[in-house]
Amino acid sequence: MKDIRYIFAIKEAMEEEMDRDENVFLIGEDVGLAGGSFGASKGLYEKFGPERIVDTPISELGFTSLAAGAASCGLRPIVEIMFMDFVTCCMDSIVNQIAKMRYMFGNQYTVPIVIRMPEGGGLNAGPQHSQCLEAWFAHVPGLKVVMAANPYDVKGLLKSAIRDDNPIIFIENKTLHAMKGSIPEEEYLIPLGKADVKREGTDVTVVSASRLVNESIKAADALSKEGISVEVVDLRTIQPWDRETVFTSIAKTHRLVVAHEAVKQFGFGAEIAAAVAEEILDELDAPIMRVGAPFVPASYSLEKYYVPGAEDVKKAVLATMERSF
């Protein structure tokens, strides 16, 4: 095992996959000479050169669709969008083109593309640099949406994403970039579509993804001192999500909290809650609680009240513990 930061785990995943398959290339703003705005491609330009580490003009819509065109003709692009907020500039590309190309053309074309982007608050960067928009993409048939909570996960998931033949929205979190964790020296993959029980427990299930997984673990640690046993399920892939693992956990705990950093309303938590209500409502002993940001844009000076964390998860767990049918 070795210690590595999340951002370098991303780099290792891309580098290994580029070594393995010459059709894999990276494209985005300042990914080459500068090594990436957050440093995810440091050294890759020197190793692979400008043909495979492609610096672009500031043209998100153009280079995302361009990558899709290349993908449909045999290449395997990794697109870096600097902040998730900027992906809004390429919605036609992702929603109308990439997500639909395979199905719409009668399965003739495949679009093996990974679009990486960091989401979330934590930098006091205000309304246009802090958003978590994963639910938008999870709502579009044809895309897979992956979210990684730590260095081990980000490397294994990204490698699988690059090998997957479907278009994938791969979501990082800015505050996790500096996070350290242990990963094996040897190669490993983490399957898409499978959740991971990050912490076992018996009283309440917390279903989460990305940074909120780590916050939920903190909350679980604190709650264990109060005698409450929390099971933390990390979805890892929110579309398609792993019903089996989630339902199995709920069948054990009979209580559910869903937690994400995105605004609570219409977040992926709503889908989980709805599916649980449709399929295993009788397993529940108490109402489902959701954790998410308030329904308002992130603001520069109120961020600390805005971004949900361990304390919010703790409150939600306590709230569901107090209730029963």
């Binding site: 703003e29 300042d30 000479l33 500068a34 705005s37 610096d55 672009t56 003009p57 500031i58 043209s59 998100e60 819509l61 153009g62 907020d85 900027f86 809004t88 500039c89 930098l123 006091n124 960067a125 205000g126 309304p127 246009q128 640099h129 308030p294 329904f295 308002v296 844009p297 603001s299 520069y300 000076s301 109120l302 009240y305 805005y306």
Partner: protein, 319 residues
């Protein structure tokens, strides 16, 4: 149009110095941790906002960018309220919600800095559409960097403005760098003026000298006000510091930074004014001392103002 009057030149110098000194102060308070988020300064680029805003009325509009303090100051923003915004205080223009990256003052036609590169260009074009629609004589300025001209938003806006002959001036401050990469990564052309040709928009490229910019801007604003349509002005300006405060500029060699700093539009103008005896050394000292006092007062005001309360977060989302 010709040269500005003596009084106008003194005012132009004062505003340029105000931008420089305000941003120097901002760098200091950012390093102290009193300002959070991202801070992009325009030190070295003060000539462009002053050159253009000298022709604008309060009712005219300007849409700015992430590097927008200079434009806001040149358009007359109140420094205390602007500083309060940068400190994230409730007394700020945007109630502490925006910080540096979205600074706006509707009362002076400052349509807002923008965190999305290129996004302000069509928005400014929309303001020009409104001015024409309502038959006001307002003129709009859209400011942006050369990097922003890679966005479709730039091209779509220029195309529309040219077709409709909208009263707008596109002011591109070409500082040679977009974030961490030089212009060669972003455009095959040497000058952004070449981009305007495809839209049949007259375009000029000028040095980073305030009087040159003033002259070009005068013609462009007049054209816009007379209903003759858009103009693009490229200012070959210089970025002295990193993309944001804290960017160590590892991608840029020292030579390039030194060359940028050698082209000091403020110092050059000061020399001109001394030489032509518009200002004496003592006048300059007085202007600068007064600015120091004004900026200190703004910072003290900002420091003392309260932050918004958590309970105010939801206010104003909908009417």
């Amino acid at each position: 149009m010709g040269k500005p009057t003596k009084e106008k030149m003194i005012e132009m110098y004062r505003v340029m110095a105000k931008i420089r000194k305000t941003e120097q102060k901002l760098m200091e308070v950012f390093s102290n941790g009193e300002i959070l988020g991202f801070l992009h300064v325009s030190i070295g680029q003060e000539a462009a906002p002053v050159g253009i805003c000298s022709h604008l009325n309060e009712a005219d509009y300007i849409a700015t960018t992430h590097r927008g303090h200079g434009h806001a100051i040149a358009k007359g923003i109140d420094l205390k309220m602007a500083m309060a915004e940068l400190f994230g205080k409730k007394a700020g223009y945007c109630l502490g919600r925006s910080g540096s990256m979205h600074l706006a003052d509707k009362s002076r036609g400052i349509m807002g800095a923008n965190g999305i590169v290129g996004a302000g260009i069509p928005i400014a074009t929309g303001a020009a559409f409104a001015a024409k629609y309502k038959k006001t004589d307002q003129v709009v300025v859209a400011t942006f960097g050369e990097g922003a001209t890679g966005e479709g938003a730039f091209h779509e806006a220029l195309n529309f403005a040219a077709i409709k002959k909208l009263p707008i001036v596109y002011l591109c401050e070409n500082n040679g760098w977009a974030e961490f990469s030089p212009m060669s990564i972003h455009a095959p052309v040497q000058s952004v003026t070449q981009r305007a040709l495809g839209y049949d928009i007259p375009a000029v490229s000028v040095e980073n000298e305030v009087l040159e910019i003033y002259e070009a801007a005068g013609k462009a604003v007049e054209r816009a006000r007379n209903g003759e349509g858009p103009t693009l002005i490229e200012v070959r300006s210089e970025r002295w510091y990193g993309h944001y405060v804290g960017d160590a500029q590892k991608y840029r060699d020292k030579e390039n930074v030194a060359q940028a700093m050698a082209k000091d539009c403020l110092l050059n103008f000061e020399k001109d004014l001394l030489q032509s005896k518009v200002l004496k050394k003592q006048d300059i000292e007085k202007i600068n001392a007064d600015l120091d006092t004004e900026i200190e007062a703004a910072v003290s005001f900002a420091r003392e103002c309260p932050y918004p309360e958590a309970s105010e977060m939801m206010e104003g989302l909908y009417l």
